[in-house]
C-alpha cells in the first residue's frame, strides 16, 4: 500500500520537475542571458543602453501609448466579452451556437490581417466605410480616422476580446446554478441575481480574462505597426522591433532595455491578479448539477439578437468580407466588378512552393506547441489547484512571464542562447519555433484549464481516490472528463496564435522552416496585398473547417 502511494508522488514530481526544467532551460536561461548581455554590452557592466533608452522622449511616449491602448482594450474587451458570454451561454437568444463560433473568429486569424481590413475601411482619405457614410449623410469630412489611439483601441478590442470571451464563457457555462436559483427564490430580479450572484462568482474568471487581454494587446506588433505607425502612435513593441531592425549590437541592447518594461508590467499585473484571485476563491461546480439555468429574454429576445447581429456584422463579418474581396481584386483603387476581379492571387496561394511548405511547417509547429503546451497546462492546473506544494507559483510565474515578454525578445534570447552556447543547438530548426511558441502562448491554455479546474470541487476527485483510483486513474476518469472541453479549447488557444505567429518567426525561421504567418506578413508588406488577402482568407477557411469538424466529431461538445 505504502509503495503504491510512493509511486503516485513520484509520477507527479517527475512531471512537475520536467516542466520546471523545460522552463528553466528554454526560458529562464535565454532571457537571463539576454538580460545579462543588456547590462554587460561588451563584457563589462554598463547602464548606457538603459540610460539611452529611458531618457528618450519617443520611448516614453511609446510606454504611455502601450499602457493606454492595452488598458482601454482590456476594459472594453471585458465589457464586451461578459455580456456576450452571458447571452450566448445563459440566455435563450436566437442563434447562440452560430454566434459562439463567430465571436472567436477574430482569435483565429492573424491580427495583422484585421488591421489591414480596418485600414481599408476607416482610413480618413479613402476608407470604404468612411466614404459610404459620407455619401449617405452628406458629410464634408470622414467621420472616422483609424490612425488614432481610438482607432487602434477599436481594432485591438475587435481582435482581443475573444481572449476574454473564451475564458468567461467557459466558466459561465460550468457555473453551479443553485446559488442563482436561491437568489431568485428569495425574490431577487434576474438583473439583481446577475449583479449580486453571477458577476461576483465570475470575478476570478473575469480578472483572468482581463489579464489575457492586457498581456496580448500590450505585446502585439501587427496592429500598432499597421495602424499606429502611420498615425505616429508608437508602442513599446513597435519601438523594440525598430531597435532590433537596426541590426547592430547596440540596437539589440536597446531593444532589451525597453523589453524590461513590458516584463515589469506583466509581472505587476500578475501579482495584482494573484492577490485578488487568491483572496476570493469560488467553487462553482459541485458536480451535482452542471446545466446552468437559462434566462428567458422574453420580449427582449428578438431585439437582443438583432443588436448582437449588428455588432457581429461590424466586428467580424465586415472586415473579413473586406479581406476576402481584396483577394479577388486586381486594382484596389477601382470599384469591385467583374472587370476588376481575378483569381491570380488565389492561384499563387496554391501554386507557390514556399507557401505550401510554410503551411506544412506552421501546422506541424502549431500542433507540437499546442500539444506540449496543453500537457504542461493540465499539470500546472493540477499543481495550482490541488496541491499545496511550496514554490508551485514558480512555474506559474515563469509561464506568465513568458507570455508577457515581447515575442521579439524571446526570439532573440533563443537565438543567442540556443545556437550551441549552452550545449544546445536547435537554431534553424522547427524545434526552436515550437519552444518559442510554447513560451509565448502556453499561458492562454494554462489559464483556461486552471479556471476550469478551479470550478471542479476537490470532493469529486477525493471520491475517486477513496474508491481506490490512483492519481492517473482519477485524472482520467474524473478530472479530465469534467474539464475536457476546456482542454480542447486550451489546445486551440495555443495552436491558433502559434499557427499564424509572425514576430518570432520573422527572426527564427530558416529557409526550410518558414511559417505561414511570416509568409503572410511578407506578402502583405512587400509583395502583394491581394496574395496576402487570399492567404488570410485561406487561413480563415481552414480554421473554420477545423472548428466545424471538431464540433461535429464531438457532437457539439468540443470547439473553441
Amino acid at each position: 500500500m505504502s509503495s503504491i502511494k510512493k509511486r503516485h508522488i513520484d509520477i507527479k514530481w517527475i512531471v512537475i520537475l520536467g516542466i520546471v526544467a523545460f522552463l528553466f532551460v528554454f526560458e529562464v536561461v535565454p532571457l537571463f542571458n539576454l538580460l545579462i548581455s543588456s547590462f554587460f554590452p561588451k563584457g563589462t557592466f554598463s547602464l548606457e543602453s538603459f540610460k539611452r533608452v529611458y531618457t528618450y522622449d519617443l520611448n516614453w511616449t511609446a510606454l504611455k501609448n502601450t499602457l493606454i491602448t492595452s488598458g482601454l482594450t482590456t476594459i472594453f474587451g471585458v465589457m464586451l466579452a461578459f455580456p456576450l458570454a452571458f447571452l450566448v451561454g445563459r440566455t435563450d437568444m436566437y442563434g447562440k451556437k452560430f454566434f459562439r463560433t463567430l465571436f472567436v473568429v477574430t482569435y483565429m486569424v492573424p491580427p495583422y490581417v484585421g488591421a489591414m481590413a480596418w485600414l481599408r475601411l476607416l482610413n480618413p482619405k479613402a476608407g470604404v466605410l468612411n466614404k459610404f457614410l459620407m455619401n449617405i449623410f452628406h458629410l464634408q469630412k470622414a467621420p472616422f480616422n483609424i490612425y488614432t489611439i481610438a482607432g487602434m483601441v477599436w481594432v485591438l478590442t475587435c481582435f482581443f476580446y475573444p481572449y476574454a470571451f473564451i475564458t468567461i464563457s467557459r466558466a459561465m457555462e460550468k457555473m453551479d446554478p443553485s446559488l442563482e436559483e436561491a437568489s431568485k427564490i428569495s425574490g431577487a430580479s434576474p438583473l439583481k441575481t446577475l449583479m449580486t450572484v453571477t458577476v461576483p462568482m465570475m470575478t476570478p474568471s473575469i480578472i483572468a480574462a482581463g489579464l489575457l487581454v492586457f498581456v496580448a494587446s500590450a505585446s502585439v506588433f501587427g496592429i500598432p505597426s499597421i495602424i499606429g505607425a502611420p498615425g505616429k502612435i508608437y508602442t513599446v513593441t513597435t519601438r523594440i522591433i525598430d531597435f532590433v531592425h537596426i541590426g547592430s549590437e547596440e540596437g539589440l541592447n536597446d531593444a532589451m532595455a525597453l523589453a524590461v518594461f513590458l516584463m515589469l508590467i506583466a509581472n505587476v499585473v500578475l501579482y495584482i491578479t494573484t492577490f485578488v484571485i487568491g483572496k476570493r476563491q469560488f467553487i462553482t461546480m459541485s458536480g451535482k448539477s452542471t446545466r446552468p439555468n437559462i434566462v428567458e429574454l422574453g420580449k427582449w429576445r428578438l431585439p437582443v439578437t438583432a443588436i448582437v447581429s449588428i455588432f457581429s456584422f461590424f466586428v467580424v463579418i465586415l472586415p473579413f468580407i473586406t479581406v476576402a474581396l481584396t483577394s479577388f481584386t486586381v486594382n484596389m483603387g477601382k470599384p469591385i466588378g467583374l472587370s476588376n476581379m481575378s483569381l491570380a492571387a488565389w492561384e499563387k496561394v496554391f501554386s507557390r512552393a514556399s507557401i505550401v511548405s510554410s503551411t506544412k511547417n506552421s501546422i506541424i509547429a502549431g500542433i507540437a506547441a499546442a500539444f506540449f503546451g496543453i500537457v504542461i497546462s493540465c499539470v500546472m492546473a493540477y499543481l495550482l489547484q490541488r496541491t499545496n506544494v511550496k514554490g508551485k507559483k514558480i512555474p506559474d510565474f515563469l509561464i506568465t512571464l513568458g507570455s508577457g515578454t515581447p515575442s521579439v525578445t524571446i526570439a532573440l534570447a533563443l537565438i543567442i542562447s540556443m545556437s550551441g552556447k549552452f550545449k544546445i543547438n536547435i537554431y534553424n530548426t522547427l524545434s526552436i519555433m515550437i519552444v518559442a511558441y510554447m513560451i509565448k502562448y502556453m499561458m492562454m491554455g494554462m489559464r483556461t484549464v486552471v479556471s476550469a479546474m478551479s470550478q471542479v470541487h476537490p470532493s469529486l476527485e477525493e471520491a475517486a481516490q477513496i474508491s481506490g483510483a490512483n492519481w492517473l486513474q482519477m485524472l482520467k476518469d474524473v478530472t479530465v472528463p469534467l474539464i475536457g472541453a476546456s482542454i480542447v479549447a486550451g489546445f486551440f488557444l495555443i495552436f491558433m496564435p502559434s499557427f499564424y505567429e509572425l514576430t518570432m518567426s520573422t527572426l527564427l525561421y530558416s529557409s526550410n522552416t518558414k511559417t505561414i504567418g511570416y509568409e503572410l506578413y511578407i506578402y502583405q508588406t512587400y509583395h502583394s496585398q491581394q496574395v496576402a488577402s487570399a492567404l488570410a482568407t485561406a487561413i480563415l477557411i481552414f480554421v473554420i473547417i477545423i472548428n466545424y469538424v471538431l464540433n461535429k466529431l464531438t457532437k457539439g461538445q468540443f470547439s473553441i
Binding site: K232, L252, G333, T506, S510
Partner: protein
C-alpha cells in the same frame, strides 16, 4: 449546405494544386557546372517572385547544387546576421542584401571571403578590388504617383519639391531606413545633397513611413498622392497587374543603390561550400544571371546591358543622373543618419 460544398471544393482545389505544384522540371545532366555540388544558402532581400524565377534558372545551370534562399528586408537580415554572429556561425553562405555600406562593415569585421570574379571586367559600377563584394543589381529610389487619381502637375518632380509642396502635405509616404537598406541610402544621399534641413522640411509634410506594398496600395486607392519608393515595385505592378501607377525619375537625381553580393568566409559559413559560392557569384555577374535580375524589374550592373527592366528608363540614362552617395560615410554615420531621420520624421 452550399457553404459546406464551397469548403470541400476549396480543399480539393488546394490538394490538386499542391500535388501539381510539387513536380519541378527535371534537371539536365550535361550541364557544364555538374561538378558544383552540395548546398548553398543565400540571404537576400529580393522579391519572392524573383527568387522563384532565379531558382529555376539556377537549377538548369547547376543541376547538382541545392540553392536555398532566405528572404527578408535588409533590416531583418542584418539583425539575423548580428544575432548569428554572436554565436559565431552564420546560417548563410552568400548575402545579397541592399547596399554597399553594409558590405564595407562586414569586410571590416572580417566576415567575408575574398574572390576575384572572372566577370569583373564587364561591371559598370564600383566593386571591391580585393573581391570582397560586387554590385549585383541596381535598385533605384524614385517618386511615384497614380495618374488615375492625380495629374502629373499635381505631384512633385524632384525630391526637393517632394519635401516642400504644401499641397502634398499629409498625402505622401516614404520608406523606413531602419528596415530597408535602400531607404537608408536615400537618407544618406539626401542628407549629403541638402543637409539635415531636408528632413526638417520633409517632416512638415507629415509623411507616413511604410513599406512597399502598403505604400503602393495607398497610391492605388488614392489615400496617398505621391510616394518615395523603389522603381521595381511600380514596374512589377505595371507589368503584372496592368497598373497605371507611374514612376517619376526625380530631376534632382535618382537615388541609385548598387545592391551587393558577398560570400561568407568559409569557417563562418553555413555549408562551407566556397567553390559553389564562387561559381554562383560568377553566374550572377554573367549576362545570363543579369538577365534574371532585369526580368525581376531591377537594372543590370553590366556595361551596355542588353535591356532595361519592363517600362523602365534606360539604365545608362539613369546612371548618368544619379544623386551622389558616399558609401563610406553611409557606413560610418549610419547611426547618425538614422537619428536624423528619427528626430525629424518619426517624431
Amino acid at each position: 449546405m452550399k457553404k459546406k460544398f464551397l469548403w470541400l471544393f476549396m480543399i480539393m482545389a488546394a490538394l490538386v494544386l499542391t500535388a501539381c505544384g510539387g513536380k519541378g522540371s527535371g534537371a539536365t545532366s550535361d550541364s557544364k557546372n555538374a561538378e558544383i555540388k552540395g548546398k548553398v544558402v543565400i540571404y537576400t532581400s529580393m522579391y519572392e517572385d524573383i527568387i522563384d524565377n532565379v531558382k529555376g534558372k539556377l537549377k538548369k545551370e547547376f543541376p547538382n547544387l541545392e540553392v536555398e534562399f532566405f528572404q527578408g528586408g535588409t533590416g531583418t537580415l542584418q539583425s539575423k546576421v548580428a544575432a548569428e554572429m554572436q554565436a559565431n556561425k552564420l546560417g548563410a553562405d552568400i548575402l545579397m542584401v541592399a547596399e554597399p555600406s553594409y558590405s564595407l562593415e562586414l569586410k571590416e569585421k572580417g566576415v567575408l571571403h575574398s574572390y576575384v570574379s572572372k566577370n569583373v571586367e564587364n561591371l559598370a559600377l564600383d566593386y571591391d578590388k580585393e573581391g570582397y563584394w560586387y554590385p549585383v543589381r541596381i535598385l533605384n529610389m524614385v517618386l511615384a504617383y497614380n495618374p488615375e487619381k492625380y495629374k502629373k502637375e499635381q505631384v512633385a518632380q524632384s525630391f526637393d519639391e517632394f519635401s516642400k509642396r504644401e499641397d502634398l502635405k499629409g498625402k505622401i509616404s516614404i520608406p523606413d531606413p531602419l528596415k530597408s537598406g535602400t531607404a537608408l541610402a536615400a537618407v544618406s544621399a539626401l542628407t549629403e545633397k541638402y543637409g539635415e534641413a531636408y528632413f526638417e522640411t520633409l517632416a512638415k509634410q507629415n509623411p507616413v513611413v511604410e513599406s512597399g506594398s502598403v505604400a503602393v496600395t495607398k497610391l492605388e486607392t488614392g489615400e496617398a498622392a505621391q510616394i518615395m519608393i523603389l522603381e521595381e515595385s511600380i514596374l512589377k505592378k505595371r507589368e503584372e497587374e496592368s497598373s497605371a501607377l507611374e514612376v517619376i525619375y526625380p530631376t534632382d537625381g535618382v537615388i541609385s543603390t548598387p545592391s551587393t553580393i558577398m560570400t561568407i568566409k568559409e569557417e563562418l559559413s553555413a555549408n562551407k561550400n566556397i567553390k559553389a559560392a564562387e561559381a554562383l557569384t560568377d553566374w550572377f555577374l554573367s549576362p545570363v544571371g543579369q538577365e534574371a535580375i532585369v526580368a525581376g524589374w531591377m537594372h543590370s550592373v553590366l556595361k551596355n546591358p542588353e535591356k532595361a527592366p519592363y517600362d523602365a528608363k534606360n539604365t545608362s540614362e539613369i546612371l548618368n543622373s544619379v544623386m551622389k552617395i558616399n558609401w563610406e560615410n553611409t557606413y560610418r554615420n549610419r547611426e547618425q543618419l538614422r537619428k536624423i531621420f528619427e528626430k525629424h520624421v518619426v517624431k
